[in-house]
């Protein structure tokens, strides 16, 4: 990859940055926070500024081999500082310097709304998620979710069935699908729409599920940053969805909570987030009013 340059034009090599990002993640103490801290201290830096080129090249080879083995032949990366990196990602508490994607990148700049919730929804929750998604599609929004079981899957599937656009921000590398039954849905989204992952491919391959599951809530923070707002359809007291609720509040994104969550006497989080500015949604109009104006301003 490192052919001798005839000139010295400062530029970004995506392959080298991919390898450097993977190398940073191979350090034992690596986390989104630890890596973001390094870049906070050096805001103009690229991953390759912290890693020797030969090491970055080695990690790039390893990561690409893992992706290729899993059938991921074509993919792209986005790098902070280079073209097409979404500025809105910088609103995240520990913004990612690099992410992987497959599909139609342009969608990331379309008006996006996240629809998220529990992996074990009630029948009413399923119905509400589908209805909400249909309404968002009708108003021209791209529906973003995390491709998990339950509400996430309903949101993606309904968006596709309604002829809408959808983006999946996943908590595994592009090489994996979780849950496995969503593999086809993931492939369909990658082919026709947009699949995004911030999860380091090599690091993921070296540790077991107990550590890898920690990547799931991290992607909710990125998902929130990519969207105008998040709608929570249904979620328990300890649901990972609440990570996204906190992120939305912190990032200045709209947070919508369906009224049915407030009416569930077992839940304390809806009123807690309402006090922080979340909007209680009695019908779709409550969402629409807030988002349509914002989408047009954006």
């Amino acid at each position: 990859m490192a052919t001798a340059l005839a000139t010295s034009l400062p530029s970004v090599s995506p392959l080298l940055e991919l390898g450097a990002y993977e190398a940073l993640w191979s350090e034992k103490t690596a986390s989104f926070k630890a890596i973001a801290d390094r870049f906070r201290a050096h805001p103009d830096a690229l991953p390759s500024d912290f890693v020797m080129a030969t090491i970055a090249e080695d990690f790039a080879k390893r990561a690409i081999a893992l992706l290729n083995q899993a059938g991921v032949a074509r993919f792209g990366v986005r790098i902070n500082g280079a073209g097409e990196y979404p500025k809105k990602l910088r609103d995240a508490g520990h913004p990612v310097e690099l992410l992987y994607y497959q599909g139609w990148w342009d969608l990331v700049e379309s008006p996006c709304v996240a629809v998220v919730g529990t992996r074990t929804p009630s029948d009413d929750g399923i119905r509400r998620a589908a209805k909400l998604t249909e309404c968002l599609v009708r108003d021209g929004f791209t529906v973003v979710s995390g491709l998990a079981k339950g509400i996430d899957s309903i949101a993606h599937q309904t968006a596709l069935e309604s002829g809408g656009r959808t983006i999946a921000v996943i908590g595994t590398p592009l090489s994996h699908a979780y849950p496995k039954e969503n593999r086809d849905l993931q492939r369909r989204i990658a082919d026709k729409f947009l699949l995004i992952s911030q999860v380091p491919v090599y690091r993921y391959s070296t540790q077991d599920w107990r550590l890898n599951r920690l990547f799931f809530p991290e992607r909710n923070i990125t998902m929130s940053a990519l969207t105008l707002g998040t709608v929570i359809v249904e979620a328990g007291e300890t649901s990972g969805t609440l990570v996204q609720a906190r992120a939305a509040v912190h990032q200045g994104r709209k947070l919508f909570i369906l009224d049915s969550c407030f009416r569930n006497p077992k839940l304390t989080w809806p009123s807690r987030f309402e006090k922080l500015g979340a909007i209680r949604v009695r019908d779709y109009e409550d969402v629409r009013q807030q988002l349509v104006d914002q989408a047009h301003q954006g």
Binding site: M1, T3, L5, A6, T7, S8, L9, P10, S11, V12, S13, P14, L15, L16, L18, P43, D44, L46, R74, G76, V77, G81, A82, G83, E84, Q102, G103, W104, W105, D106, L107, V108, E109, S110, A190, D191, K192
Partner: protein, 209 residues
């Protein structure tokens, strides 16, 4: 902070079938529009830049003017002055000849914007001897060999003391135009490196493959 240039490296090379690992090409953004949608600023910029000349005088023309200025400024922000001042920059000739009503000098205009207030050598070294369909409007895309038949060096301009030659185009697609012009320039200036500079590269639609 201005956007950094990206180099076409091993990760991107397969998207541009006429380029190989020895080609040194840079771009700022990526063109990923599908089915007429253009949500991203780069997609918008490229679509406006390529607005055909028959729209001249219509209200939408201002978007083309704006795109020319924006493209020049974006490149200026990404490239150090000293690098530009040691280069001869050669725009890819427009698909329509100068006497054609659809002749579009947008590349030259972007370069003039980029080079305003600095000592930059912009030279239309390569000329096209007959009009063709614009590559982005044509389904029958030429090969570099086809282009060699219609490109020639403007011998009156074929003198440069600069260290390197930079071929400039707005959108890198297959790399065909760059390769044809590189071949012509290498024949004329065998000792000078020939580098490609683009506003954006087009990412092929994965669904179409």
């Amino acid at each position: 902070m201005s956007t950094k240039l990206t180099r076409v490296d091993g990760l991107l090379l397969a998207d541009h079938c006429y380029l190989d690992a020895e080609d040194e090409c840079y771009f700022v953004g990526e063109y990923t529009a599908r089915a007429g949608y253009a949500f991203s600023p780069t997609n918008d910029l490229i679509q406006n830049l390529k607005k055909p000349m028959d729209r001249l005088g219509l209200p939408e023309w201002k978007y083309k003017e704006r795109a020319i200025a924006q493209a020049g400024d974006t490149l200026r922000g990404a490239i150090p002055q000293e690098w530009l001042e040691s280069a001869t920059v050669v725009p890819v000739p427009p698909s329509k000849a100068k006497n054609d009503p659809l002749y579009d000098d947008r590349l030259l205009r972007v370069l003039h914007r980029l080079g305003s207030n600095i000592a930059i050598d912009i030279r239309e070294l390569v000329v096209q001897t007959k009009s063709t369909a614009a590559a982005h409007e044509s389904s029958d895309r030429p090969t570099p060999t086809d282009l060699l038949d219609i490109y020639s060096i403007d011998t009156a301009k074929a003198k440069t003391e600069q260290k390197k030659l930079v071929v400039f185009d707005d959108l890198l697609t297959t790399g065909c135009h760059f390769r044809a012009i590189k071949q012509i320039l290498r024949a004329e200036f065998p000792n000078k490196p020939v580098i490609g500079l683009f506003i954006a590269r087009r990412v092929p639609d994965s669904a179409a493959i």
